[in-house]
Each structure stands twice: as C-alpha cells, then as structure tokens.
C-alpha cells in the first residue's frame, strides 16, 4: 500500500540540508583532510596550468584565433578539484564553460577548444575520454548524465557521472527534471553547481531567493552540500565524498560550490555594465590559485622547485596553444554531410553532389 510520505523518510530530511557555512578547509586550519600529498601537488599544478590556459585562450580570442572564449579564471579550483576527485572511468558532463575540466581530464588542449575555435562542434571523442561534448544549451546536459549513469548501472558497471552546471542553469526546468530523475532512479550522479555569482549579467539574487542552491537538494530527497568553490582542497573532498557515496549505491548528491567568475562572461561581454570593480577585487583576494599555493606552502608541501616546475609547464602549454592555434585549421566543407545520419539520405547525397560541383567550379575558376 502506498503511504504518502512515511514519517521515517520525513525525519531524515534534516540530514539532506547543507550546513550553514560553505565547507572550507584552507582557511580554517583544516589542513588537507585525508588527501594524499601527491594529489595536492597535482591540484596545484592543474590550477597553475589552468590559470595560464585561461589567460592564453582569452588572448588568442582577442587576436581572432578563437571565435569566443568563456574563461574559468577564478573557478579553477572547482574544475580541477572536481575532476581529480573522479576515477578515469567516470564520466564528465561539462557546460560550455568547463574547458579546464577537460584539460584536467587529460584531453588535448587544442581539441578542447575546437568548439570555441569554430572548426567543428566538438573536437574529441567523448567515449574515449568519458567526457560529453561541451554543452551550450543550459542544463540540458544534466539529464544526459542521469541517463548515462543509469545505463551503466543497469549494465552493472561501477561508474559515476559528474554533471557541471552554473547558478543560472539551476533555474532551467531541465535541471529540476534531471535531479529528480536521478533521485528516483538513485543513480550515481554528482551534480556540481558552480555558483559564480552571475549568469552573464544577472546576479544570484535575481536568479533565486533560496537560502542557498544546495537547499534545493532536500526537495529531491538528495543530500545538499555547500562548499567553498575557491578552495580546491574542499571541492576535491566534497566531490570525492559524493562520488564515493554514489559508487556505494547511495544515489546522487547536489553540491554547490561558491565561487566567482573573475573575467567577463566571455571575451564578447562587458562586465563593467553590471558589476562593481570593488566586488571583483574582493574576490581577487580569494583567488583559488593563490590560496592553494599559500596553503600548501604553509603545510610545507610545496617546494619552490615544484612551483617553478608548475610555472614552466604552464608556459609550455601556453606556447603550445599559441603555435598550434597560429594558423587556421584545415576545414573540409564536404565534411558537413558526414555524420548527419549513419547513412546519408538520398536528399543529402544530392546536396553533397551539388556542393562538390560548386567547389569544383571554384577550383576551376582559379
């Protein structure tokens, strides 16, 4: 017999609420939790690399080498902290902004940028890397994570899906539907909301009146976790805990990482129209790269040499980007007709022939 809201479940609701303050380790003398030193150094390396990557990609955009670039400067701790908390077999469902997450996962830095460079929509093989295509329509990737995790679970495979989402994205119906499906099917998904304070120009208080985005979790019957998104150690720990829970059959978790987008929305955006310099400065004071570096030094984990090495590696990456993106890539117009269907329709074959003839004419006219 169906009992509506059995009292025991109801009583468990309190356990699903986030704490009153974001989980933070760095500033609270929290040490490094139970995270291995090698992982901490990896985190540091990726943050440094990531910052440089953002800078370089933004610069290349100004030079017209990329069509557009949404920077994650300020959010590197979320990107690296989360991805390093996963196993290689776990899947990542990024938004259009989460290029760094892909870099941390080990993708080729230029393939990561294919979408934003404009030579194709997605530059890598999602199955090879367990990374879904960078997703532009907001929140639409969240149900994909649920479906993939469910499929894997049905096949008995031990796999977690991490869905990134923005604070703005949580307002979309797809976010709601995805978290609900995940909770009902109890699938191994971690929803990581990067609350960077803005959806383009719209500040959080115009996006939601909720005490926190993590408070949405209880409404789906999943735990809500609030974490300092500029503390790579805390993000790492929170995501790992959620992934562990998911792997153990505990179902999804909704994590809100409170962070800040230090750059404009994209190179095309003018952030001065909607936010104060003082606010940006405040958050510069909480720079995730600086904070991790200072903290690891304090803990005696970071040598000067390691810092220098990370810097060199980052410069090498930047140089690689500059040189590999210096020229326009070869694009083949005939590829437009590939992969529309497994086998092109007769109609597409006609159009392909017409384009081929056009191109031949142009060639001839030369």
């Amino acid at each position: 017999m169906t009992v509506l809201h059995p009292p025991d479940v109801h009583a468990g609701a309190a356990a699903l609420l986030p704490g009153p303050e974001p989980l933070s380790l760095i500033d609270r003398g929290g040490g490094t939790g139970d995270i291995a030193p090698s992982v901490l150094l990896d985190l540091h390396r990726h943050l440094v690399r990531g910052r440089r990557y953002n800078l370089q990609a933004t610069a290349l955009t100004k030079q017209g080498r990329l069509a557009v670039y949404p920077s994650t400067t300020g959010q590197e701790a979320c990107q690296a902290g989360a991805v390093l908390a996963l196993e290689e077999r776990d899947w990542i469902f990024p938004t259009y902004r989460d290029t760094l997450a892909l870099l941390v996962r080990g993708l080729d830095p230029v393939e990561v940028l294919t979408l934003l460079r404009g030579d194709w929509h997605s530059g890598y093989d999602p199955r090879e890397h367990r990374v879904a295509p960078l997703c532009t329509p907001l929140a639409t990737q969240a149900p994909h994570a649920v479906g993939l995790a469910r499929a894997a679970a049905l096949r008995g495979e031990d796999l977690v899906a991490l869905a990134f989402i923005g604070d703005g994205g949580t307002s979309e119906g797809d976010f709601h539907e995805a978290v609900n499906f995940a909770a009902v099917y109890r699938v191994p998904v971690v929803f990581l909301v990067q609350n960077n304070g803005y959806a383009i120009s719209v500040p959080l208080h115009k996006q939601t009146a909720a005490p926190s985005l993590a408070h949405k979790a209880v409404g789906y019957g999943v735990p809500g976790v609030l974490v300092d998104g500029n503390d790579a150690v805390a993000v790492h720990q929170a995501v790992r805990a959620a992934a562990d829970r998911a792997r153990a059959g505990g179902g999804p978790t909704l994590i809100e990482a409170v962070t800040y987008r230090l750059d404009a929305h994209t190179n095309a955006d003018d952030a001065t129209r909607y936010r104060e310099a003082a606010e940006v400065e405040h958050w510069q004071g909480r720079d995730p790269v600086d904070r991790l570096e200072a903290h690891l030094r304090e803990c005696g984990l970071l040598t000067e040499e390691a810092v220098a090495r990370a810097g060199r590696e980052a410069e090498e990456l930047a140089a690689q980007l500059r040189s590999r993106l210096a020229d326009d890539p070869a694009v083949d117009p005939m590829s437009l007709f590939e992969h529309v269907y497994a086998r092109p329709t007769p109609q597409l074959l006609e159009q392909r022939a017409a384009l081929a003839a056009e191109l031949a004419d142009v060639e001839e006219a030369r």
Binding site: W120, H144, R155, G173, A178
Partner: protein, 350 residues
Amino acid sequence: MTAVTEITTPAGAGRAAEAAPVTMAGALNRALRDALAADPDVHLLGEDIGALGGVFRVTDGLAAAFGEERVSDTPLAEAGILGTAVGMAMYGLRPVVEMQFDAFAYPAFEQLVSHVAKMRNRTRGALPMPLTIRIPYGGGIGGVEHHSDASEAYYTHTPGLHVVAPATVPDAYALLRAAIASDDPVVFLEPKRLYWSKGLLEPSPGPAVLGRAAVRRPGTSATLITYGPSLPVCLEAAEAATAEGWDLEVVDLRTLVPFDDETVCASVRRTGRAVVVHEAQGFSGFGAEIAARITERCFHHLAAPVLRVTGLDIPYPPPMLERFHLPDVDRILDAVGRLQWEYDITEEQK
C-alpha cells in the same frame, strides 16, 4: 471517445484466411516485445508504460515480461525522459521513449532538436543516437484539446531525425522494428485513430527498410500521396472516385524522412496529377514539401498544380467539431475534381 476504424490493410489482404487479424496497437506491442527479446540494449521508458501498459496499451504486459528495468515508468517530465534517453544512448543502449500524446512531446522539443538530432553530427559520429521516440499521433478519436495534434512538420524540418508514420498493421510492426534497429533517431508517429484497426501479421513482416514508400492502390488518372491516419481515407476516396471515372493511384509514404522521391515521382510522372493529403494544418505543413519537391522534379509532367487537402489552419478543434477539420473523402474528391481535367484538350489555354 474512441472510434474503431476497421480497415483491411492492403499488405495483408491476400492472406486473410491464414491467421487472426491483430490491431495496430497489438502489432506495435509485438514489435516492442520482439525488439526487447532480440536485443538486451533495448530499453523502454515513458509515463505509465509499466503496470498500466500505456494509456493506449501499446506496452501492455512488457514490464511484467521484461522487468521494470527494461520497461520503466518515469517521473512526469518529458524533457527529463528524452534527456535521460539521450544519456542512455550515449552509453550504447537503444532507448525507446513513449510520449503520452503528441502535444505532450513539446516539452522535450529542446532535447530533441538541440541534442537528439545533432549529437552524431557534432561528435563526428562518436555518439550516435539510436533512439526511437514513439508518439501517438493525430486526431479523430474525440480527444479534448492538446490530445490530437499532428506535428510531423516540426520533426521533418529537423535535420538528423528520421520520421516514420505507419498506416497499416504490418507496417506498424515492420517500421517500428526498423526504427528501433536504426542507428539514427527516429520519431515514430503512431496514428491514434488506427490503433484499433485490424490487419494480419502472419507471416511476420520482419523489419522494413526505412525510406521506401508503397503504392497501396495502382491507378492511372492521378496520384494521391499520403501517410499515417489519412491512408484509409485516401483509399476510400479512390474507391469512390471510380464512380466519377477516375482511377486514382494511392501512395503511402511510410517514411517522411528520408523521403522516397523515386516512388512518388514515378507515380506522378505516370499520372500527371497529384493531390497530397494529411491531417496536420496545411500552412507550412509537410504537404508543402511534398508539393514543392514534386513540382521541382516533375514540372513538365504535371497537367495541373499539385493540390493539398489538409487540416484547416486552426488550433485542433474540440471533439464535436473535429470532423470539419480532418480531410475526408469529399474534400479529396473535390480536390481531384480541380485537377484541370480539361487540360489535355485545351493545351492552348496555358
């Protein structure tokens, strides 16, 4: 609320004595059952498809036979259903989604257009979408508002999708098997008012080839081109037309995308005249594409413009008025009558 239309499906007509006829809903059920049995990657998901067997009973008994994991009731959210299916397909499964009614597929429109239709292309073939989206389609069953839309044109205009609309019982089986076996996403439009029409499934039709139209009635005077729920109406019109001395050919498209230009044009070139018939509102409807491409390809064979008999350009009417909206025999005959039969003898008028 439901009109039971009995039509003898042409494909099975000759074998009437050999086996018991089944309904189209039954044929679809059997196709799903056979697909589930044949391939463990096939998973069904949708609202009320489990214990209830779907509001049209197309999934009747399947959850019991294959378990709730293979045939699962979902929360009530169509974008969530389709989005979840996309994720399942990304992992290599072959999800078959049921949208409860045509208009209730609209919440999933973004997932359909921006992901289902594009995923293979944007990932250079790495993530195909072997998804089937079953949609009870069209009117004529006395459904109240939002239960009778004919929305094929939204789908046929979306590159990356296949669009299929069976009109006969064996086709319902054969095309659904083909849709599920397809490595591309298929919007599968099930004509609601033919769910209880009957036909034969023995011998088994097996999976069809997508993209092939069928000539359901050969004729010489003009061609009626149609699909889904309008096929029986066209066949009836063709019978009635004999009284006027017209011998009409009836072409059933079966698959809207890909489109079978060959069969359609061969027929129109032979007859020189064509009328397109569908339920959906005519303006900017799929009939416009059919008419435009026939004209492009067969212009000099046409004795008259290709005409369209379609639903009116209005929101789908309430039950008591729907018969004034839907194409019927009279309207089809009327259009045939306007195909400029005087043309052959008065060429100079042109």
